[in-house]
Subunit: 330 residues, 2 copies
């Protein structure tokens, strides 16, 4: 069994999102709490800007929850930067006990799964789950110097500049975290660092197949199944892989990477980065759940476990995806 | 509260250690399950050697536990390499659901804390906690090219080539994981990447102070309090910091980094790396607990959240330490 159930249904009592200007003009822009005027956010480096976004996400989520940082038992966070520095320095800033995680763009699910376990099991009262990404820090770490102005290939995705934080608690009002399906690391041999969707889709398929098998549910059980960030190509591959197993994703399926930017923004296959699923969850999805427009959501962030070192040594890029069942509060 | 209690007392039903030749000649050498003949371990690169060590640690721990990889609900693992590739590719090899973590050299504690929560809460049956490090991969990623043959400064520590895996379960025999104290990220402004001990000691002090306060225990409650990898200087600083708070560590205290290598091995301040606490726990400590020579151990792995990017941008190096209470089985 990869799926666990949270019987006491920890609540997401607050979520906060911050995004860059390009992201603010995208399809989810109106659901973000704060849209930055520029990507550098008043800092000297993009890495410092990313960290400032993380800090604002935590501050904003705490304010919405009506909590102080001393009320938080644990910060569960991760990001794409080497040694997850955005997360660690944010933990330093808030003086919160800290569990660092790395699941690439699946981190929002990883942190919710681990955080919900701690709340549901009665170990902690309040935890914060946090992740995000920044176009300019990720591109220069994983691909090319920004100054190179490299041409983008049709399979490429645009790393979103966005962050999201969620406060989980047993008390208070909000959508409930009901289940988590931990994913396996799946690798179909993709070596192209500009084709993250194809690298991640098999892991999303594996996690979804296991989730549906173990819960006995069908895709139609959910009002929304949202993967992300597979992008256009990756989500097409996912649909194909599931159809081979007799599982049909219907109109209730979307990939948040695919639909993150508007068509006119010309990002090839869509968005990628931890910030995509983090900002879609804490912006759009929570909004719809809290309004009762969605009742049952299956949230499946997908991560490409890409490394320049491993790629340089001839390795392919494995993916990992975790699924979280989130339901509207009573 | 940073401390949580595991009432059902998950058991470490098996631990396995693998180490390099230098580590095998050190003070804990005779407790390791396997000592490699050389650091490259038959692979083409040191990174591949590190991964092979991780895989052997998991295989060995499963064999000792009498379990197959399909019996494992979750692999909780992390390492020092960018994007924790040793852990992720090991998860791929064993086809296990995977929770990637990053806490630098505190990872063995992080994975035990999160793993014990999942077992204690009744969510999972068996999980594997895994971490390790390799001298040659860490040095070239964090400091200098190996070929440079840089002179080592008196405060430097030697990154150990070692890995350890532990199988946690509710059933079976073994030492019990009874409590965890999650640590905060503490930074006293150390910027010297060759002085990890000073960077980490304040976080170890903070976690220990909180642990003793929250549990009402004194250091004398434990047969062994083991930090690591603070090294000689770091553990001296820790003793000072605690004395300022009126807490005296006695003869039951040791730092596993400080006492990892023999004096003749000339490693300056001792050992560092995730592999140090992982191999000391799964080798020496479990051995002594299972024999009844220790009854109560406070295991406090310490992590330096060092990043070349952050250091290059003028940041200091924060530390994080988590404490785990492990008691001998009945």
């Amino acid at each position: 069994m990869q799926t666990i159930e949270f019987k006491r249904r920890p609540k997401i009592i607050a979520g906060y999102t911050i995004a860059g200007p390009k992201e603010g003009q995208g399809n989810f822009g109106k659901y973000f709490d704060y849209v930055m005027h520029d990507d550098i956010f008043g800092e000297k480096t993009y890495e410092m800007a990313e960290r400032k976004m993380f800090e604002q996400a935590v501050t904003g989520a705490l304010q919405k929850a009506g909590l102080k940082s001393a009320d938080i038992n644990l910060l569960l966070a991760g990001d794409l930067l080497n040694q997850i520095i955005s997360s660690s320095y944010t933990a330093r800033a808030f003086n919160m006990p800290y569990l660092g995680m790395f699941g690439a763009c699946s981190t929002m699910a990883e942190s919710l799964a681990a955080g919900a376990t701690l709340i549901d099991g009665g170990y902690f009262e309040n935890v914060v789950c946090l992740t995000g990404s920044h176009f300019s820090t990720a591109e220069r770490q994983f691909r090319f110097p920004l100054e190179l102005g490299n041409q983008r290939v049709p399979t490429s995705q645009w790393t979103a500049t966005a962050a999201g934080a969620a406060v989980l608690s047993l008390h208070g009002k909000g959508a409930s975290v009901c289940m988590a399906t931990y994913g396996r690391v799946i690798d179909y041999g993709v070596t192209d660092v500009n084709n993250m969707g194809a690298a991640m889709a098999p892991s999303a398929a594996d996690t979804l197949i296991n989730h549906f098998e173990e819960t006995g549910r069908k895709p139609s059980y959910y009002d929304l199944i949202v993967t992300g960030d597979l992008g256009k190509l990756g989500s097409d591959i996912l649909i194909d892989l599931l159809e081979e197993k007799g599982i049909k994703l219907g109109a209730n399926y979307c990939d948040c990477g695919h639909c993150y930017y508007s068509r006119r923004q010309d990002t090839m296959c869509g968005a990628s980065g931890c910030g995509v699923s983090a900002s879609v969850l804490n912006g759009y999805i929570l909004n719809k759940l809290n309004k009762g427009e969605y009742r049952k959501v299956l949230f499946v962030p997908t991560g490409a476990l890409m490394s320049t070192t491993a790629s340089g040594q001839g390795e392919s890029i494995p993916g990992v995806s975790h699924a979280i069942v989130i339901e509207a509060g009573e």
